[in-house]
């Protein structure tokens, strides 16, 4: 069974192929990492999956429906969630209100249900004490956790995380990993993780997709990818991968 199925996704910017014929599948509850050097097309790929950037070619199926041309908010309502590389919160809303905006995706929830659900989510992420603060007064790490809470409050089946550990200190990264693991133990939540922190990727991911210059250069379990010559060459330079042969 497939939750997300992207086939032959290409994105061209003028003469630059940001993505070329990338195939990608995610099963329900699966944890997949997408890695690659800077400029490999990882964020563009997430933008295509969430509908922020239309692909030049290819198809995106989500939960059995073709969403290639669907606007972003429809995909989110269908169960896709995402956080951003640099954290994007609603600056004029409090922490709680930010999360409530996510929870309001279900229109049948009353105001008090929204509040209770959002407070519960903040509690699980260790942020309930900050609920009534302005987001501008939070630390960088806290802001990123609030964004994650907001995305989770939408109740996604698949969560796309764009470098969630960037800018976090070691303790915060440990916390983030522990909370993601705990969450996935309780509910069926598939995750696609873009991350440069290889320790995090290797510990969490069941499968890894490696992109370079917009192309898929490898895919497999963490162990397979770690020893793949193409991957080593992309990360460590031309000679290295070839020298392994």
């Amino acid at each position: 069974m497939t939750l997300l199925h992207a086939t032959a996704i290409s994105k061209r910017y003028g003469g630059l192929m940001a993505l070329s014929e990338v195939d990608f599948r995610v099963a329900p509850g699966e944890f997949v990492a997408v890695i690659g050097p800077n400029g490999a097309g990882k964020s563009t790929f997430l933008n295509v999956l969430t509908g922020l950037t239309p692909p030049s070619a290819g198809r995106v199926l989500f939960d059995g429906r073709d969403v290639t041309r669907a606007p972003t908010h429809r995909r989110i309502r269908a169960g896709l969630g995402r956080t951003f590389q640099h954290g994007r919160l609603f600056a004029r809303l409090s922490v709680l209100e930010n999360v409530m905006t996510g929870a309001a995706i279900r229109t049948d929830r009353t105001e008090s249900q929204l509040r209770a659900l959002s407070l519960g989510m903040l509690d699980r992420m260790g942020l309930v004490g900050e609920a009534h603060r302005a987001v501008g007064s939070l630390s960088y790490g806290q802001r990123r956790m609030v964004e994650l809470c907001r995305a989770l409050a939408c109740g996604p089946k698949l969560l796309l995380l764009d470098e969630p550990a960037a800018g976090l200190n070691l303790g915060e990264v440990e916390q983030l990993m522990a909370r993601l693991t705990a969450l996935r133990a309780e509910q069926e939540l598939a995750v696609v993780l873009i991350e440069h922190n290889m320790g995090m990727v290797m510990r969490l991911a069941q499968r890894i997709l490696v992109l370079n210059f917009g192309c898929r250069i490898a895919e497999g379990s963490p162990a397979e990818v770690q020893s793949d010559p193409a991957v080593l060459s992309a990360y460590l330079g031309e000679g290295y991968g070839n020298a392994q042969h």
Partner: protein
């Protein structure tokens, strides 16, 4: 808690306005009526500008469309103004929805220019469609509003009606602002992409905000028409749109109280500063600049800052 806030806004308006209606003399009452009518328009403008962040400079066109619809229906067609009010609101809201689809593809300064153009076009159309609007002569003889034998035909009586409507509008606006719909509008203003990422249909939220603002503008316009009982093109030219914007900025954008305070202050200020003569405009410009630079959240923001400062002092003395 939320009910309490909207109730508080309504009670404050009725109590303060009611009190003033008993102590003020005729000319001041007239100004107060103008304030109340403007305040309804500015509360509406706050949905578009303050909450959803749509820089619109055409709000007076919606006020004018409401006023002219009532004027035409009640004079040429002999409708009761009570019946013409909801129809005028409906017509204006539909118009805003229709024009919103193409207009709201634009953002920021482009939207400001396009809405300014809308306002200028409105003035040109009502000036030149003489058979319908009377051109520059305007439309006179608009019937007064009356309930049975009680006619709202003097300043004090009209003010009572205006205050009740303003209180209802303020209570509605406060309730909406604190609901998921208000939060969605603010989310769209703060970050459209992140708003989409929480399942918000950004286009729909923007059009709703514009329609709401137009509906309030139309109500304000119908009150203007039944208060002055005469409408002319220059009552709704783009300068009035800029005044609505100034009222909201001075009072405090994003806040219902700010809309009401700003509307009252900018209606009375020219009277208080009459001794300045033509220098008033220079003063007005400088005041607006000073508020934009030093008080970007307006007078309501200043009050909140002072309260916080007072709160800190209290905390210090008690600890």
């Amino acid at each position: 808690m939320r009910r309490y806030h909207s109730l508080l806004a309504a009670v404050a308006i009725l109590a303060l306005g009611g009190l003033l209606s008993l102590v003020l003399a005729d000319y001041r009452l007239r100004l107060l009526n103008v304030s109340v009518i403007s305040a309804i328009a500015v509360i509406g403008f706050n949905f578009a500008f303050g909450l959803a962040g749509l820089i619109s400079l055409g709000h007076a066109a919606f006020v004018g469309l409401g006023a002219y619809t009532l004027a035409i229906l009640s004079t040429a067609f002999g409708w009761s103004p009570w019946l013409a009010i909801p129809v005028a609101i409906l017509v204006t809201t539909l118009f805003a929805g229709l024009i919103g689809y193409p207009l709201l593809r634009l953002r920021g300064h482009y939207l400001a220019l396009a809405t300014l153009g809308l306002n200028v076009s409105f003035t040109i159309v009502v000036t030149n469609w003489i058979s319908l609007t009377g051109g520059t002569n305007g439309i006179s003889g608009i019937p007064e509003l009356r309930l049975g034998a009680f006619a709202f035909n003097d300043e004090r009586r009209f003010l009572w009606l205006g205050l009740v409507l303003l209180a209802l509008c303020a209570a509605f606006a406060v309730t909406l602002q604190r609901s998921r719909y208000g939060r969605a509008m603010m989310a769209v203003r703060d970050d459209e992409t992140a708003a989409r990422m929480t399942g918000i249909d950004v286009t729909r939220v923007k059009i709703t905000a514009l329609c709401l603002s137009a509906a309030f503008a139309a109500l304000s316009g119908t009150l203007f028409a039944t208060h002055v009982r005469f409408v002319a093109p220059e009552d709704f030219n783009y300068a009035h749109s800029i005044i609505y914007l100034a009222m909201l900025i001075v009072g405090g954008e994003g806040a219902v109280a700010g809309a009401v305070i700003g509307a009252a202050l900018l209606t009375f200020l020219p009277e208080w500063l009459r001794f300045l003569g033509d220098a008033y405009l220079a003063f007005f410009g400088l005041m607006l600049l000073a508020i934009l630079i030093f008080l970007p959240t307006g007078l309501v923001g200043l009050a909140a800052q002072l309260r916080r400062l007072g709160g800190h002092r209290e905390a210090e003395t008690t600890s």
